[in-house]
Symmetry: C2
Subunit: 452 residues, 2 copies
C-alpha cells in the first residue's frame, strides 16, 4: 500500500539511529544503518563528528560502501576514502556510474588517487581514466555513458521486443537516442512516445530531429542553466564530431544548481563550497585563517586612513565615537547592490548590454538613499550631540559614501567577471575596503575642514 | 539533424534581438521575439528595464502570453499582469497548468486577483479556486493535477492500446499511478516498466506498492529535500484519506531548490528573494530602506558604546584609530560561522542532537583563531605605534571578541529557528551588533583600565 507515512518511517528510523548512537548501542546502530537508504546513511555521516563517522563506516557492510560514497559531499567523502585501503576503495568503486566515478576520483588528493589507480585492474583503470579525461566542471565530467541507442530504420515493434527481452532499462531513462552507423546523433525519441506510437512505424518517422545536444566540453553551469530554462529531464552529450558520447540527467544538474546557488553565499563569507560543517577543529581553523588574514589587511588599511587624521581625532573625541557610522552604512548598502548584481549575473539577467542601464540605476538609488539617510543621520546626530555643523558634516560624508557604495557594488562584479575572477569571493572584501576608506576619508576629511 | 549548435543558435538569436532592441528596429524585434522559446522571451523581459519590458509585451502575440507568464519571476510577472486588462489575463491563464496557475494568482496583489476572478467564467474560476485552495509553499500548491491513473486488474496490453489511441501523454510523465475504485493510491508503475513488461501481465503484478507518496500539505522545502535526497523525478501527492490528488515533477522542485538556496544569500544582505534587479529606482530605494534603517540603529548602538568611553578616547587618539579593527575581525569570523551553520541547517546536517557538539567545536575554533590573531595584531600594532601595552590591550580584546563571535555565530541560528524566525534574515544583523558592541567594549574598556 503506497503510504504517505513512508516518509515519516524514514524519519523515525533516523531518529532511532541517532538515539542508539548516543547510547552507544552499536548492535542496534548496525541493524538500523542497514535498513536506511544510501542517501539517508550519507546524511547521518555528514551530520556526525569525525570519530563517530569512522565508527559508522566500520559498521557499514562493504557492499554498500559504493552507494553511500556517491551520496556524500566532497570533504566528507575524501576524508573517508583517504582512510580506506586502496583495494577496498577499488571494490567500492566497481559499480559506480561514470559521472559519480569522475566526481569521486577527481576530488581526491593526488597520492591517494594514484594509489587507487595502481591497485585497479586494467579494465577498471581504463574506465576511471576515461571518466577523468574530461575537464572538471564540464558536461563530459557530469554525463553518464549508459545511453540506449536506436537505429532509425527499425520499427517500434522491434524496439519494444528488444526492450522486453532485455528486461530493464538504465535508471532515469526518459529518452532513447537515435544514431546512424557512425554513431552520430540524428534524433531523439521520448520514452512516452514509444508507448503511444503505432508499432508499425519506423523510428525515423517518430523521432525528433531538432533536439538540442550538449557539447562535451560545455561548462556545467551553462548545462544547468539550459536544463532549468527549458525544463529538460535529460539531454544527449556529443563530441566535436557530433557523435553521441553520453547523457546528462536532471538529478546531476540539481546538484550543480544547488552548489552554484550556495557558492555565492559561501564565497561572500570566505568559505569553500564543500566546507565540512563537522570537520576537525584544526582543519576549520586553518581554512578560515586565509579569509581573516585578508580582512585584517583591510581593517589595518581603514585604520591607516584614520591615522592620517590623528590630529583631528585628538581635538574632537566625538569624531572618534561617530567614525564607524558612515563606513558601516556604506558597507551594508554596497553589499545589497553587490549581492543583487551577482545573483543577476548568475541567473543570466545581467550582461554587457544592460549593464550600463543597471549602473546608472544603482547610482540613482545610491543618491536617493544617500540623501534620505544623510538627512536622517544629520538630525539624529545634531540632536544627540547638540551640534548642527557636526550633523552637516556627517550628512555630507554619508551622501558621498552611499554613492561610492552603489557605484562599487554595481561595477565590481562586472569588472571582476571580465578579469575572470569569481565576483562573489573577492567582491565583498574589495567593496568593504572601498566603503571603509571612502567613508572614513569623507567623514574625517570634512570634519577637519569645517570643524577644526 | 540533432545539432550541438542548436544552443548556439538560441544564443545568437538572443544577441540579435538585443541588438535590434538597442537600435529601435521594432519590426525585427517582433519577428525575432516570436522565434524564441517562451523561456528565452522571459529571460529577455527579466533583463530589460521596465519601459522596454512594456514595449516588448505589446509586441508579443497574445497567444504566447500564458506560456511566457509561467516562466517569469514573481516581481516581473506581477508588474506585467497588473498592467493588463482582466479579460486578457483570463485568456492568457486558460491553458496554464494548475501549479503555475496557483503560483501566478497567489502572488498577485489582492485587488488585481479579485478583478481577474470576477472576469472569469464559472469553470475557469472553479479551477482557479481549487488551485488556490492549498496553502502557499505546500505540496498541494506545487502539484499538477494531470495524473494518468490505471486500475490494478487490467493488463499491460490493454493499457498500451489505450495509450496508443490517446496519442500523447501529459508533459514529463514518467510514472503511471495505480488507484482502486475509491481513488486511493495503491501503487506506481514507471513508464519504462510499461515498455519492458510482458503484455499479458496485470498491472497489479508489475506495480511497486511501497512507493512514497507526499501528503498534500507537506511544506515545499521538505518536498524539495526528499526529491534531492532520493533522486526522484516525480512523486504522487495524496490527501489525508490517501486518495491521489496530483503529482509533483522535478522541474517544479528545481525552482524551489534554487529559491531556497538563494534565499539565505539574499536575506543576509536584507534583500527579498524575488527582488527585481531592474525594478524602477523608486521601488528599489523603498525596499532597501528597511534594512538600512535596521543597520543604522545597530551603528548608533555601537557609537553609543564608544560614547561611554569618550574620556578615554579624548586622552588617547590612537585608540580612535584602532577602534574598528577588533569589531571588524569579530564580524567577519562570526559571519563565517553563521553562514556555515545556516547552510548546515538548510541541508539537514544540523539538528538538536549534534548542535551541542557543533557549538563546542566552534568555540574551540574561535579560541584558536582568537589566540592566533591576537598575537599577530599585537605584534603589528606594537611595532606600528611603538607601544607594547597597546599591543597587549588589543590582543586581549581580539581574543574576547573572536570567542564571542564564534559563540554567537553558532548559537544564533539555532535559537532563531526555535523561535521560528528566519535565521538568514535577522541572524547577520544581530551578529554584527554583538561583535561590534563586545569588540568596542572589550577594546576601549581594557584600554581604560590599563593605558589611562
Amino acid at each position: 500500500m503506497a503510504e504517505a507515512l513512508e516518509t515519516k518511517y524514514a524519519q523515525s528510523q533516523l531518529r532511532q539511529l541517532n538515539a542508539a548512537l548516543a547510547d552507544g548501542r552499536f548492535v542496534s546502530v548496525r541493524k538500523l544503518l542497514h535498513e536506511l537508504a544510501s542517501s539517508d546513511v550519507a546524511l547521518i555521516l555528514e551530520s556526525s563528528p569525525t570519530r563517530t563517522r569512522d565508527e559508522l563506516w566500520e559498521l557499514l557492510d562493504a557492499d554498500f560502501h559504493g552507494d553511500v560514497l556517491e551520496e556524500l559531499s566532497e570533504d566528507v567523502r575524501n576524508g573517508i576514502i583517504t582512510k580506506m585501503m586502496p583495494e577496498k576503495v577499488v571494490d567500492a568503486l566497481e559499480e559506480m556510474d561514470t559521472d559519480d566515478l569522475a566526481e569521486t576520483l577527481s576530488s581526491l588528493p593526488d597520492e591517494v588517487l594514484q594509489g587507487i589507480l595502481q591497485t585497479m585492474g586494467t579494465q577498471d583503470r581504463a574506465r576511471a581514466e576515461q571518466a577523468l579525461s574530461y575537464g572538471e566542471e564540464t558536461a563530459g565530467f557530469v554525463m553518464n555513458t549508459d545511453t540506449i541507442t536506436l537505429r532509425p530504420d527499425v520499427t517500434v515493434d522491434v524496439v519494444l521486443r528488444y526492450v522486453r527481452l532485455k528486461g530493464n532499462l538504465p535508471e532515469n531513462t526518459d529518452t532513447f537516442y537515435v544514431v546512424n552507423r557512425t554513431d552520430n546523433l540524428i534524433g531523439i525519441v521520448p520514452v512516452t512516445r514509444m508507448l503511444t506510437a503505432d508499432p508499425e512505424d519506423k523510428i525515423s518517422e517518430i523521432m525528433d530531429d531538432d533536439a538540442e545536444a550538449i557539447p562535451v566540453n560545455m561548462p556545467d553551469g551553462e548545462v544547468a542553466s539550459l536544463f532549468e530554462r527549458y525544463n529538460w529531464l535529460s539531454a544527449p552529450v556529443v563530441d566535436e564530431k557530433n557523435r553521441l558520447v553520453g547523457r546528462i540527467t536532471i538529478d546531476d544538474v540539481v546538484d550543480i544548481i544547488r552548489e552554484d546557488a550556495e557558492h555565492s553565499m559561501m564565497s561572500m563569507a570566505g568559505l569553500d563550497d564543500e566546507e565540512d560543517t563537522f570537520a576537525p577543529v584544526w582543519q576549520s581553523t586553518k581554512r578560515r585563517s586565509v579569509w581573516l588574514a585578508v580582512n585584517l589587511v583591510t581593517a589595518l588599511l581603514a585604520a591607516a586612513v584614520s591615522d592620517l587624521f590623528e590630529a583631528t581625532l585628538s581635538q574632537l573625541a566625538v569624531l572618534a565615537i561617530l567614525n564607524t557610522i558612515v563606513p558601516s552604512m556604506g558597507g551594508v548598502a554596497g553589499n545589497q547592490t553587490l549581492t543583487l548584481v551577482i545573483r543577476g549575473m548568475a541567473l543570466g539577467h545581467v550582461n554587457m548590454s544592460n549593464a550600463r542601464w543597471l549602473i546608472s540605476k544603482e547610482l540613482a538609488v545610491g543618491f536617493l538613499n544617500g540623501m534620505l539617510w544623510a538627512v536622517l543621520i544629520a538630525t539624529v546626530i545634531a540632536v544627540w550631540k547638540s551640534d548642527f555643523m557636526l550633523g552637516v558634516v556627517i550628512a555630507f560624508a554619508m551622501l558621498i559614501n552611499m554613492i561610492a557604495a552603489a557605484l562599487s557594488g554595481a561595477t565590481l562584479p562586472l569588472v571582476m567577471k571580465r578579469l575572470k575572477i569569481d565576483p562573489a569571493l573577492a567582491g565583498s572584501v574589495i567593496l568593504t575596503t572601498i566603503t571603509d576608506v571612502v567613508g572614513i576619508f569623507a567623514f574625517l576629511g570634512t570634519a577637519t575642514l569645517f570643524l577644526v
